[in-house]
Symmetry: C2
Amino acid sequence: MNKGEEEKKTMMKKLIPNKQIILNHYVTGYPKESDFGLRSSTTSCTLSHGSSSAVLLKNLYLSCDPYMRHRMSDHISHSGTIVQSTSGSVLVGYGVSKVIESTHPSFKEGDFVWGMIGWEEYTLITTPDSLNKINITDVPLSYYAGILGMPGIAAYAGFHKICYPKEGDCVYVSSASGGVGQLVGQFAKLMGCYVVVGSASTEEKVDLLKHKMGFDEAFNYKEEHDLGSALRRYFPQGIDIYFDNVGGHMLDEVILHMKVHGRIALCGMISQYNIEKPEGVRNMFSLIMKRIEMKGFVEKDFGHVYPELVELCIKYLQEGKLVYVEDIAQGLENAPSALVGIFYGCNVGKQVVCIAKE
Amino acid sequence: MNKGEEEKKTMMKKLIPNKQIILNHYVTGYPKESDFGLRSSTTSCTLSHGSSSAVLLKNLYLSCDPYMRHRMSDHISHSGTIVQSTSGSVLVGYGVSKVIESTHPSFKEGDFVWGMIGWEEYTLITTPDSLNKINITDVPLSYYAGILGMPGIAAYAGFHKICYPKEGDCVYVSSASGGVGQLVGQFAKLMGCYVVVGSASTEEKVDLLKHKMGFDEAFNYKEEHDLGSALRRYFPQGIDIYFDNVGGHMLDEVILHMKVHGRIALCGMISQYNIEKPEGVRNMFSLIMKRIEMKGFVEKDFGHVYPELVELCIKYLQEGKLVYVEDIAQGLENAPSALVGIFYGCNVGKQVVCIAKE
């Protein structure tokens, strides 16, 4: 066998079968399972030592996040923050993976990482600097798609760096049992906020909020005919901090219940992602009269808080002072339904998809 | 004459004829001159020495401000910040006055002050701590109803303390030739912002903005069929700071033209004050994607900046580095039309009413 044939054989060996979730077409309205497809492909994963640095990942957990909806639309990007998918391309999102091959000095075979990966069994990452290495502890690996990943940074930075919380503050969290919301409520309680109230879409979630996630109060917003009277009931003195995961009508109403000098962190607006024309927020004048600070943020800007988040959360998790509820779907083929489900509130806790154990 | 008759005579002497502007009835929609009345009254201005401290003012200048519209509605107050007028009561607003009698140790006859006064020839102030004493310089007294009064604080604090401006920032000001807007643009230029662009409702005002108030650019928003394309023209790279005096559709559109990490100071929403149902702001999701900070403020919270404002502005005014354009109506009887006019953009510069020279 001459050298050329040997190289060819090596390359052949590196063509790994790779199941992938693809976007069949751009999505209008609520996403449906039929918007996605499962493709059997192969990954050209030949890592060329000595040239560019790359990492081949075996993907373990996928994170289902509301922001992913924006990738699926044929829209002009709002600011370039969210990269659009093209029709027929593999879905991309945060996930947890194992390094199975690496030509990058920072990563070696067997390392665990989290970061942006494809919704597929294997992903070749040609810019591995975007990956975060995981130092294995006794917390589940899937947590790096949640509390110790992007949603954790969003909750931690959004609450501590955007809301300026202080002891005794009245805090309201919408979509409170989700991957971000459940953490915000717990962070608020850990620093002495009172009352901390969350809203969710089912009684099961309300029960979780009150009896597992440590919220002082919780309510099922779908059962409240008058959102305003619910907010008055839980916040007779008004709200200091609103952590908004929902937007639209909820945000509009909450503004009326804010205290003077209240803070609103805009984390997400899931109520608006699947509708053609966003709902207008009419109570803007109250932002003036109440001197409210409303701030949008994305977790990308807060990478620097990650070490303190990891240290704190692992400590609290081990001490039992913090819990993290996950809803784990099994198998890549079930990833589309898990993703679609979050827009209907089907998930109970942070929605993750397990595509391989290790 | 016995002692009782002498006292009665003294009290009689103190009943001063006092013309007043009253609110005839609560206002719906745009205010009209007929919503207001001129009442000939007398003021029971007997200052009882030794008991409570009070100050009797002869009023000189009245400030016409958009926020006054809220006093005229039969609404529940948004936060208690704005005291509602009752139907038939004397209008209240900021103004400049001369002390003609005082039992308060901080004020003496002949002092000039600014603060909240009635729209009338004489006002008896029973809580004189709310008044600001004027140290006479060579600037016009009327400026204490503008650049050196509440609008000055709103512009100075709103720009410097809410917008975090820095050299080179692109700044947009709506209602830019008004009592607050013209100052924001000039403050922005003084600290090296570029470009500084204002919008107004007539060519005359646009000309003032460009050739007197030092804005880099200005446009007549009424002549722009597509506000978005106007904003793109003046801010091809986007807007760092939007100082909003207008709200509604303008605010909604500007959000789309903000840069990442832009700041929006919500100072006023004059476009919304005379309509039944506020326009909805639909582009809220861009606040997240662009990490925009939007903050409402009222000048009341920034009394502490007043000394630095006065020092700076008087210096700049004397050096010719700052100008202040006023639109002065003459006579208390013309105050209602001046006030009504600001909601139609009739004023060119800060609208003031002169009711007495000294």
